[in-house]
C-alpha cells in the first residue's frame, strides 16, 4: 500500500465573496496520478493555487507526508517538494530551452556570475531525458511549438527532484487544454513517465484524458468535491453525470437539434479571392453566405489563424481581394472592419479578448461605444440596461457582475463577455471565431455551441476555427481545409457530413 503524500481536509477559499472552494477533502498517494475533473469555475485551479502557495486558504488543513503545512509562498511549497505547471505557459520566450528549465536553479552552471553553457545544456538535457524528450536544450524557446513548450514546462517542473529529499508532487493545471488530440498525446505520454518518479495531480476537463492516465479521479462542481472514481471502475458516462450534476446532459452530437442549412439562395456577404500573404497563406478564395457557418480546418501553422486575422484587418495581406456585399474593401486597421459589421473573437482570450482592469460592462461595450451615444456622451444608463440584458441572455455568472472587473470571472464567462462585445452591435454581419472554446469545459462549450447556432440562424455569417475536428464538422455548413498555406480541400456539410478521416487526409 502506498503511503499518503498529501492529505487535504475541508479546504475552503473565497475570492471576492464567491466561494471557489467549499470544504474540499482529498488525498494523493506516492507515485499516483490523481485526476481532478470539473467545469470552469468548479474550483480546480484554485485548489492547485492553494497547494502551490500562490494563495492562502481561508479554512481547512493540508498535510504533507503526515505533517501539517501552510505555504506562504511558492518557494515554501517548492521546499516541500511541490511544483506546478501552469495553464498559461510561464516560459521566457527569448531564452533557450535549458535556460528556461534551469531558470532560478542554475546551481553549478553559474561560475563567478557567468553561465557555463556546456554544463547548463547538460543539466537541461538531463531533465528532458527524464521525459524521453529529444528537444535540443539550446533551442530558442519561442521557436518551439506549443506542445514542445509544454514538454519544457514539465521538464522544468521536474528540476525539483534535485532540490528536495522527497519524491516531488507535480501539479498540472490543464496542460492539454490548448492542444488538439494529437498534440495532447505527447503530453499525456509525458505524464505517464512522471508516474515512475513522482506523484501527480492532473487537472483537466477532458474526460478521455483523465480516464486514460489517472489512477483515481475526483470530480469537482461549484467548489465541492461531488464524486470520486477509480480507473477501470467508473465509466465516462458516470463521470459526465457527476460533473454536470443536476444539469441536463449535454451530448454534442445526438442531442443537438437538426441544423437548418442556409439555402444557397441567401446572399453572399463576404467573398475572398486569391488572398495571399508571404509565408502564411497563398491564393485563398471562398464565399461566405448570410447565416452560414464556414469552418476552416487545418493544423496549427497552416495559415488559418493569419487568414482570419486578415479578414478582420488585424493583419495585412500582400495581394488578393476581400469583398463585402460584392464591393472590394481594404482594411487599414480592425476598426475599419468593425465599422462594417465584422466581429472577431481572438484565440488568446486573456491577452487579446478581455481588457483586465475594466469592468464587465466596459468590456462589453468597448467596440460599440458610438452606438450608446447620448449627444457627445456615453449614455451610462443605456449602457447599464444593455449590459444587464446580455448578462442575462448569455447566462454570465455571477449575474450581478456588470461592475466587477472582467478578469475576476472564470474563463468561460470571460469568453461570453467577448462574444457579447460583438453581439450587442446593432448591425453585426460577420463573426470570426478563433478557437471559441479553447479552455472551456463541457458545459460552457455546449452553451457556446448553442449560441453560435443561434447567431447563425439570425442571418450572421460565421467563420470558425477550432482544433476539435468533430465539433468543426458538426457545426459547419461548409468547410475549407488548409495545409501549408493552401486550400487543400473543400466540403459542403449541409446535406451530409463528410467523414472526419477525409478532412484529416486533406489536413495532413
Amino acid at each position: 500500500m502506498n503511503s499518503v503524500v498529501l492529505r487535504v481536509e475541508r479546504l475552503s477559499k473565497s475570492f471576492a465573496g464567491v466561494r471557489a472552494l467549499d470544504g474540499v477533502s482529498l488525498e494523493v498517494r506516492a507515485r499516483e496520478v490523481v485526476g481532478v475533473l470539473g467545469e470552469n469555475g468548479a474550483g480546480k485551479s484554485t485548489l492547485l493555487k492553494v497547494l502551490a502557495g500562490l494563495c492562502q486558504r481561508d479554512g481547512g488543513h493540508i498535510a504533507m507526508r503526515g505533517r501539517a503545512v501552510r505555504f506562504g509562498s511558492p518557494r515554501e511549497a517548492a521546499e516541500a517538494g511541490i511544483s506546478m505547471v501552469f495553464q498559461e505557459q510561464s516560459l521566457v520566450p527569448n531564452l533557450s530551452v535549458a535556460e528556461n528549465i534551469m531558470l532560478g536553479h542554475e546551481g553549478v552552471a553559474v561560475r563567478a556570475g557567468f553561465y557555463d553553457w556546456k554544463r547548463l545544456h547538460a543539466m537541461g538535457a538531463a531533465q528532458l531525458a527524464k521525459l524521453d524528450s529529444t528537444l535540443a536544450p539550446w533551442a530558442l524557446t519561442e521557436t518551439l511549438s506549443f506542445e514542445e513548450r509544454q514538454m519544457v514546462e514539465l521538464a522544468k517542473a521536474l528540476t525539483i527532484e534535485e532540490r528536495t529529499p522527497h519524491e516531488p508532487l507535480i501539479l498540472l493545471d490543464e496542460p492539454t487544454s490548448m492542444l488538439d488530440a494529437g498534440q495532447a498525446q505527447a503530453v499525456l505520454i509525458g505524464i505517464e513517465r512522471l508516474r515512475g518518479r513522482a506523484s501527480v495531480v492532473f487537472v483537466s476537463h477532458r474526460l478521455d484524458e483523465v480516464l486514460r492516465v489517472c489512477d483515481r479521479i475526483y470530480v469537482f462542481a461549484e467548489g465541492r468535491c461531488v464524486g470520486q472514481g477509480q480507473r477501470g471502475v467508473c465509466t465516462k458516462a458516470e463521470l459526465q453525470a457527476m460533473m454536470l450534476g443536476r444539469r441536463h446532459r449535454v451530448d454534442s452530437k445526438d442531442g443537438s437539434p437538426p441544423q437548418e442549412a442556409p439555402t444557397s439562395a441567401s446572399a453572399v456577404i463576404l467573398s475572398v479571392r486569391d488572398l495571399s500573404c508571404a509565408h502564411r497563406y497563398h491564393s485563398v478564395s471562398f464565399d461566405l453566405r448570410a447565416g452560414e457557418v464556414l469552418g476552416i480546418a487545418g493544423a496549427a501553422g497552416s495559415g488559418r489563424d493569419s487568414l482570419c486575422r486578415a479578414l478582420f484587418g488585424a493583419e495585412t495581406p500582400d495581394s488578393g481581394e476581400i469583398a463585402l456585399d460584392g464591393r472590394p474593401v481594404r482594411w487599414r486597421e480592425p476598426a475599419d472592419a468593425v465599422e462594417r459589421g465584422i466581429g472577431y473573437l481572438p484565440g488568446e482570450r486573456s491577452t487579446e479578448g478581455v481588457v483586465a482592469g475594466m469592468s464587465v460592462a466596459e468590456n462589453m461595450t468597448l467596440a460599440h461605444l458610438g452606438e450608446l451615444r447620448r449627444g457627445p456622451f456615453i449614455g451610462l444608463r443605456l449602457e447599464k440596461a444593455l449590459v444587464r440584458r446580455w448578462i442575462e441572455r448569455l447566462g454570465i455568472k455571477p449575474c450581478t457582475s456588470a461592475d466587477m472587473q472582467a478578469q475576476l470571472l472564470s474563463g468561460g464567462n470571460q469568453q461570453k463577455i467577448v462574444l457579447a462585445k460583438w453581439l450587442i452591435a446593432r448591425k453585426l454581419r460577420i463573426l470570426i471565431l478563433d478557437h471559441p472554446w479553447r479552455g472551456l469545459d463541457v458545459g460552457a462549450k455546449a452553451e457556446a455551441v448553442a449560441s453560435i447556432r443561434e447567431v447563425a440562424r439570425s442571418g450572421i455569417g460565421i467563420v470558425l476555427i477550432t482544433d476539435a475536428l468533430d465539433d468543426l464538422i458538426a457545426l459547419s455548413d461548409s468547410l475549407i481545409v488548409m495545409k501549408n498555406g493552401l486550400v487543400s480541400g473543400r466540403f459542403t456539410c449541409s446535406a451530409a457530413k463528410p467523414p472526419d478521416w477525409r478532412v484529416l487526409e486533406c489536413m495532413l
Binding site: F15, F312, L366, Q405
Partner: protein
C-alpha cells in the same frame, strides 16, 4: 468580511485607498507647513498658493492624458517654455491672434509627436525626449534670454486678477481640468484611452483606432502646454526659454503623487488635482518655512516612488507591462 472582499473585487477598496492616501498626504502637508509657519494658513496666502498652482495644474493635466495611455510626455515643460517665448514675442504686435496662433502651434506640435509615436511605433518617452531637446533648443534660438512683455500683456493679464477671492488663473486651470475630467468619464474618448492604457492589443482588436486616439491625446497635451505658457506669461509678464528645467519633474510628480498608475489605464485627472496641489504646497511651503530650496526636488523624488508603490497593482491577475 465577504462584503468587504466583494467590494475590493469591484475595484472599490483599491479606489478608496488610493484616493485616501494622496488626500491625507496633502492635508498632512498643509498642517505641517501651517504649524511651522502659521501665516501660511491665512486666506491671502492660500489664494496665492492657488494662483501658484495653476501652471503645474495645467501641465499635470496634460501629462495625465498621456500617462493614462500608458505613455509619458517629457516634452510638456519644454513646449510650454517655447510657447511662453513665442507668446511674449507675439503679444505686443498681434494680441489675441498671436495668442491663439501659438496655442494652435503647440497643439500641432503635440499632435505631431503623437503621430510619430503611433505611426513609427517609437515609444512615447523617446519621441518626447527628442521633443524636449528640440523645443527647448528652439526656444533658446528664438530668444537667448527672458523676453519681457510690454503693452501686449493686457491680453493675458486678466488671468492675474481675482474674483470672490478666487485667483483667475486657478479658476482657468480648474475649468480646463474639469473639462478633461468630463471627457475621461463620459466621453467614448476617455474610455478608449483607458482601454489602450490597460491593454493596447485588446483595444485594437475591439475596433479602437489606437493611432487616432494617441494623436488626439498628444494634441491635447500640446494645447495644455500652451495654456500653461499663457498663465506663466500672465504671471511673470515675460516669456522664458529656460523655465522648463524646473517644471518637468513637478508636472510628472503631480500625476503620480495623485495616484495615477505609470503603467496606464488606472487613475484620472481629478487625482492629478490633488497631486498638483501637493506639489504646490511643497514648493511654497519649503520657501515659506525657510528650508533650503534643494529639498524640493528631493521631496518630489521620494513622494513619486512612494506614490507609485502604493498604486502598483500586485494582484495576480494583473498584467505587468
Amino acid at each position: 468580511m465577504h462584503a468587504l472582499k466583494r467590494f475590493e473585487a469591484m475595484g472599490g477598496a483599491r479606489t478608496q485607498w488610493t484616493w485616501c492616501v494622496p488626500l491625507l498626504v496633502l492635508l498632512a502637508l498643509v498642517c505641517a507647513v501651517g504649524l511651522a509657519q502659521p501665516s501660511f494658513l491665512s486666506l491671502g496666502s492660500l489664494g496665492l498658493l492657488a494662483g501658484e498652482s495653476s501652471v503645474i495644474l495645467l501641465l499635470a493635466t496634460a501629462q495625465t492624458l498621456v500617462i493614462m495611455l500608458g505613455g509619458i510626455d517629457v516634452s510638456v515643460a519644454a513646449m510650454a517654455a517655447l510657447a511662453s517665448v513665442l507668446m511674449a514675442l507675439a503679444l505686443p504686435s498681434t494680441g489675441w491672434v498671436g495668442l491663439l496662433g501659438v496655442l494652435g502651434l503647440t497643439t500641432l506640435l503635440g499632435a505631431f509627436q503623437g503621430f510619430v509615436h503611433a505611426r513609427a511605433r517609437v515609444p512615447s518617452v523617446v519621441v518626447t525626449l527628442a521633443g524636449l531637446g528640440m523645443w527647448s533648443g528652439l526656444a533658446l534660438m528664438v530668444a537667448g534670454a527672458t523676453v519681457p512683455v510690454g503693452e501686449g500683456h493686457a491680453t493675458v493679464s486678466w488671468l492675474e486678477g481675482s474674483s470672490w477671492g478666487v485667483h483667475h488663473s486657478f479658476a482657468f486651470a480648474m475649468a480646463a481640468l474639469l473639462l478633461v475630467a468630463v471627457a475621461q468619464h463620459w466621453l467614448p474618448f476617455g474610455r478608449r484611452v483607458r482601454a489602450i492604457g490597460l491593454n493596447p492589443v485588446a483595444a485594437r482588436l475591439s475596433g479602437i483606432r489606437v493611432g487616432r486616439v494617441k494623436v488626439i491625446a498628444f494634441a491635447l497635451t500640446g494645447l495644455f502646454a500652451g495654456l500653461a505658457a499663457m498663465t506663466m506669461v500672465a504671471r511673470t509678464a515675460s516669456g522664458s526659454p529656460t523655465i522648463a528645467d524646473s517644471l518637468l519633474l513637478p508636472s510628472i510628480a503631480a500625476v503620480l503623487i495623485g495616484g495615477t498608475a505609470i503603467t496606464g489605464g488606472k487613475g484620472g485627472v481629478v487625482r492629478t488635482l490633488i497631486g498638483a496641489l501637493t506639489v504646490t504646497v511643497l514648493r511654497v511651503g519649503i520657501a515659506a518655512t525657510g528650508l533650503n530650496a534643494a529639498y524640493e526636488p528631493i521631496a518630489y523624488g521620494i513622494l513619486v516612488v512612494v506614490a507609485a508603490g502604493l498604486v502598483a497593482d500586485r494582484a495576480p491577475h494583473s498584467s505587468v507591462k
